[in-house]
């Protein structure tokens, strides 16, 4: 899938500091259109910080981010979302008081443009949009096989399903770039298999580019086209799963160094 060499996103020399703590130091890599790109590294390596820089939640002090050909010093959350970057969170960040369906519909919020007046009286675009976007939301719900729980409040769902609903909410935005922050953390083997299947299907069917943080090496090696390894905020290695797996620095730092 990564054969189209077109680059979707490039981060160059990103440095992010929180006071005296350097979360990221001079990190550069690129994400090609249509690929599944894994970001791995030990705890505290700066993986989530990297995602937060990409979608504009953190603002790196140095470096540049080029997305869809536009170079910026930093992204802004609204800008990132409206340009097609969606994400899920390491600790589930669903809207707990809302139903599954409402969560998914909220993912489409940027695609709705009815005015306040139309919404207040529920006529015109407000009415037609609700129906059209409901159909789109149902497609995603169907795709992720969460039909049976669509009207359940999210807070009542088990952990594995919540993770899936979060993916649904991100997918509902029809993103070009999907950032998944540990989509399989805390799942059992079957749930991991399901989630892996969904990720591969999203990539294959919608052509969505995916950047993925994951700790399960088996999953990373199986799913991803290319892997970037971070350690203490610095880039350690970058390449195909096989290259990364045989890289001595990576082995020492992370994969199989004996302690």
């Amino acid at each position: 899938m990564a054969e189209t060499a077109e680059t979707l996103l490039t981060v160059e020399n990103i440095t992010l500091r929180f006071g005296g703590v350097k979360a990221l130091t001079d990190v550069s890599f690129d994400i090609r259109k249509g690929e599944i790109r894994a970001i791995i590294g030990p705890n505290g390596a700066g993986k989530s910080s990297m995602l937060n820089c990409i979608n504009g939640f953190y603002h790196p002090q140095e470096g540049r981010i080029t997305y869809k050909g536009q170079t910026r010093k930093q992204m802004r959350p609204y800008e990132a979302a409206s340009q097609g970057i969606a994400r899920t969170f390491q600790n589930i960040a669903l809207f707990r008081g809302m139903s599954v369906l409402d969560n998914v519909m909220t993912g489409r919020v940027l695609k709705m443009n009815s005015s306040l007046f139309e919404q207040a009286f529920f006529f015109g675009r407000a009415r037609s949009e609700e129906i059209a976007h409901r159909a789109k939301a149902e497609e995603v719900i169907d795709f992720l096989e969460i039909n049976a729980i669509r009207k359940t409040p999210v807070g009542r769902l088990p952990y594995g399903l919540q993770k899936r609903v979060e993916l649904a909410r991100a997918l509902a935005a029809e993103p070009d770039l999907l950032l998944l922050d540990e989509p399989m953390a805390g799942m059992n083997v079957e749930e991991k298999e399901d989630m892996s299947r969904f990720i591969l299907n999203v990539n294959a069917e919608f052509g969505t580019t995916i950047a993925l943080i994951e700790h399960d090496m088996g999953v990373v090696m199986d799913l991803s086209d290319r892997v970037v390894v971070l350690n203490y905020g610095e880039k350690l290695a970058d390449g195909t799963p096989d290259e990364v797996r045989s890289d001595q620095a990576v082995i020492d730092a992370y994969l199989g160094a004996s302690h």
């Binding site: 959350p77 969170f89 669903l94 008081g97 909220t106 207040a120 009286f121 949009e129 129906i131």
Partner: protein
């Protein structure tokens, strides 16, 4: 309930998204509307003027605060002041432009209050929770101070508490001393019904979802592309719009004076209690809360007489406060999600009845 959803299948998203998807619920609504419309013919003047009208007006205010607190998660202790703003704005509008029909004046007052609410909602962009509550207290004190100390707001009336001008709708007086209670009741009912419908529309549309997203997880909402600033400010504006209309109606159709004491901090707390006891994030709950908080003191007041007990008035008043306070505390411990949650639980139980599962 005496019915079940089974068999009521939907064949289109439009039908599934209808405001009231279950047919029997719709019938219930029609019955409620019919009762509300028939009330002037059967109820006595005291009931209409002293119970029905204030309850309906407080429902509007409670829905307003519920949109802000229950749906958008932004606390406000300034609802009373926003009601005052609505009352004074409606008074200014009705006296400065007497040719504007009264309903339009009241809506204009609501819009003016929305703008005031927008200004006082600005702190919400930076602060949350208790700090925001304290910031909105500023609105409460500042606005009331403004209305008492700037004579322009009362058209330089000597007493400082002017009477709203009488006005007619379809040839019948709805405001002023001559207005019959049934006309005032229907006038208030129309506002209450319309604003309830609008509130339901708002919370099921995009804007309602963005409010709830900000309430539940503001960081995730922002990364989805929801602008927190805009979302919180619309919630403040629309909430103030509701409070403003409630305040205008309170002055024009209930107490028949425009005075600041009707809208002091106690009023703000009263509305807050209505929302909390009725149920945060439930529009039906606002009805329950407003009815409960308004009627319960009246009930406590008249209950001893029913049992033939002769208790002096001052003791009754104090007992009323004590029992009322105890009820609120008990209630918040027993069911923090309010009367709306109790209603929902009851419905769920009755669906299965007589089986336990």
């Amino acid at each position: 309930m005496l019915y079940r959803e089974a068999g009521d299948f939907k064949t289109s998203y439009a039908k599934d998204q209808a405001l009231i998807p279950i047919r029997q619920d719709r019938v219930m609504l029609y019955i409620c509307i019919a009762i509300a419309l028939a009330l002037p013919f059967v109820a006595n003047d005291y009931f209409l003027g002293s119970i029905a009208i204030p309850v309906l007006i407080m429902v509007i205010a409670a829905i307003g605060l519920n949109l802000l607190l229950g749906f958008c998660g932004q606390i406000s202790l300034g609802s009373g002041a926003f009601m005052a703003a609505g009352a004074y704005m409606a008074y200014k509008c009705a006296t400065a432009f007497p040719w504007i029909p009264m309903p339009v004046s009241i809506i204009l007052a609501g819009i003016a209050t929305a703008l005031i609410g927008l200004a006082f909602g600005l702190p919400a962009v930076r602060i949350k929770g208790f700090y925001l509550a304290v910031a909105t207290l500023a609105a409460q004190f500042f606005l009331l101070w403004l209305f008492t100390h700037v004579p322009w707001f009362v058209n330089y009336t000597m007493s400082g508490v002017p009477t709203p001008p009488p006005a007619t709708v379809l040839g019948v007086y709805v405001t002023g001393a001559d207005a019959p209670n049934w006309a005032k009741y229907l006038f208030v009912l129309a506002f209450c019904a319309g604003l309830t419908w609008i509130a339901y529309n708002l919370v099921r549309s995009r804007i309602g979802r963005t409010w709830m997203a900000i309430r539940d997880m503001d960081i995730a909402a922002e990364l989805i592309g929801i602008r927190p600033l805009w979302t919180k400010l619309t919630a403040f504006a629309i909430s103030s719009f509701y409070c403003g209309i409630a305040g205008a109606l309170w002055s024009f159709c209930f107490i028949n004076t425009v005075e600041p004491t009707a809208f002091d901090i106690n009023r703000s707390f009263q509305i807050l209690f209505m929302v909390i006891i009725g149920g945060l994030g439930s529009i039906l709950g606002s009805y329950f809360g407003a009815i409960f908080i308004t009627l319960f003191p009246i009930l406590l007041n008249s209950a001893p007489a029913w049992f033939g007990l002769e208790i002096p008035g001052n003791i009754i008043t104090n007992l009323e406060f004590m029992i009322f306070g105890a009820m609120i505390v008990f209630f918040l411990i027993a069911e923090p999600n309010g009367l709306a949650r109790l209603w929902q639980l009851g419905k769920e139980k009755l669906r299965l009845w007589p089986f336990p599962h």
